[in-house]
């Protein structure tokens, strides 16, 4: 990013795009409850902002943290604006039939992903984002606290609570329970 700020050449931009575009897209896709079209639009907006005003990024800070903060704020702004939740079908988790012997089958795995998406969409925005950053992006507690603009203790507490709720909701998918 520093190179792009100083030179503004295409190769520097391509490097940034290839390194972060998919991660940002999938992060927003999950936070926006699976609305891929909206996530694609926001991805374009974020990188367009980088092109137009690269000076917005403080080179003394971590770029990953910065770009995820931007993405998170974009999603948050969208939620405030539209109050639009869940593009995915809001179906009850009980609709999924669980067959432990096929857990690792692709069909079962797909069902788990879908159930996970629904369970995440039922969480609040901050809890969902915290969980996604932690277990999807493998971000550290410190990074999440920077993105979410809260203390590390709050991040841990939110993560612990998310885990507690989701583990119960998706207990049927846990082979150990059978």
């Amino acid at each position: 990013m520093k190179r792009f700020q100083s030179e503004r050449n295409e190769s520097a931009f391509n490097e940034i795009y290839s390194r972060y575009s998919q991660r940002i897209l999938y992060f927003m896709y999950r936070v926006l409850n699976g609305n891929e079209e909206l996530a694609q639009d926001l991805l374009h907006d974020i990188f367009e902002r980088i092109i137009k005003r690269p000076e917005l990024f403080d080179t003394n800070k971590n770029f990953k943290t910065w770009i995820f903060t931007v993405a998170s704020n974009e999603c948050k702004g969208l939620f405030r604006k539209e109050k639009k939740e869940a593009d995915i079908e809001m179906v009850s988790l009980q609709e999924f039939s669980f067959s432990p012997e096929n857990l690792h089958d692709k069909i079962q795995e797909k069902q788990f992903r879908r159930a996970l998406g629904i369970a995440l969409s039922e969480l609040s925005y901050v809890h969902r984002t915290t969980f996604i950053l932690r277990y999807q992006e493998q971000s550290s507690i410190k990074e999440i606290s920077a993105v979410m603009e809260c203390s590390e203790g709050t991040v841990k507490s939110r993560t612990f609570n998310c885990l507690k709720i989701l583990a119960v909701k998706l207990a049927d998918f846990n082979p150990q329970n059978v």
Binding site: Y135, K164, A167
Partner: protein
């Protein structure tokens, strides 16, 4: 205290199986949840991470998006070529721009050209007409030459002042009718219209 314990258990869930915990750690975990719950949460984290990773492969950025962004970048770079390289990294703060604008406004204001220039222009025209009515007189001093008539008298001795006078006799033409020469006494009596007699008047005569 409870918060600290939860944070500690979270770290263990993320990193260790229940069996890998020490006896003291297991005891701490069991004080808040069962072994099954611990294992279920740990298993869930692993499954969720795996699910995310699998799903991520299907969600890819549109190729069109990258193409559009590249075109925007090229357009921006081509438009920015006019700016010297040493100015590209210079950013001007809003307050600096505002201060400069304010400064120029103040300079313009103090220069006398106010917001209503037409009014001032009219006033100036009025003054100009007054100036036109003033008559300017120019005094030209011309040196005056005073002409004095100086009469000089020259005193000369009498002998020198004698003139040579020559007398010439001029014969007057004779009148065609000669008048009768009056008698002197008659003339004397005719002098004036005085009521006095000549005898009475004769006493005032001299040299007779």
């Amino acid at each position: 205290m409870k918060m600290k314990l939860e944070e500690q258990i979270l770290d263990w869930i993320e990193t260790k199986d229940f069996d890998a915990l020490t006896a003291a750690e297991q005891e701490m975990v069991l004080s808040t949840m069962t072994e099954e719950s611990y294992s279920a949460r740990r298993s869930f984290i692993q499954n969720a991470a795996h699910a995310f990773e699998t799903e991520k492969a299907f969600i890819t950025p549109n190729l069109e998006t990258q193409h559009k962004l590249k075109l925007q970048l090229r357009a921006k770079n081509s438009s920015g070529k006019m700016v010297p390289f040493y100015l590209r990294s210079v950013s001007i703060k809003f307050y600096q721009v505002a201060a400069v604008v304010l400064f120029f406004c103040m300079v313009w204001w103090n220069s006398g050209e106010t917001i209503a220039p037409e009014v001032i222009a009219k006033e100036k025209i009025v003054y100009q007409t007054k100036v036109d009515t003033v008559f300017l007189e120019t005094k030209i001093e011309v040196p005056v030459v005073q002409i004095k008539e100086v009469i000089k008298y020259k005193e000369l001795p009498v002998a020198e002042s004698t003139f040579d006078v020559q007398y010439t006799s001029v014969e007057l033409p004779m009148p065609q009718e000669q008048k009768e020469i009056p008698n002197l006494t008659d003339l004397e009596q005719e002098i004036g219209n005085s009521p006095f007699s000549n005898d009475e008047l004769n006493q005032f005569r001299r040299g007779i």
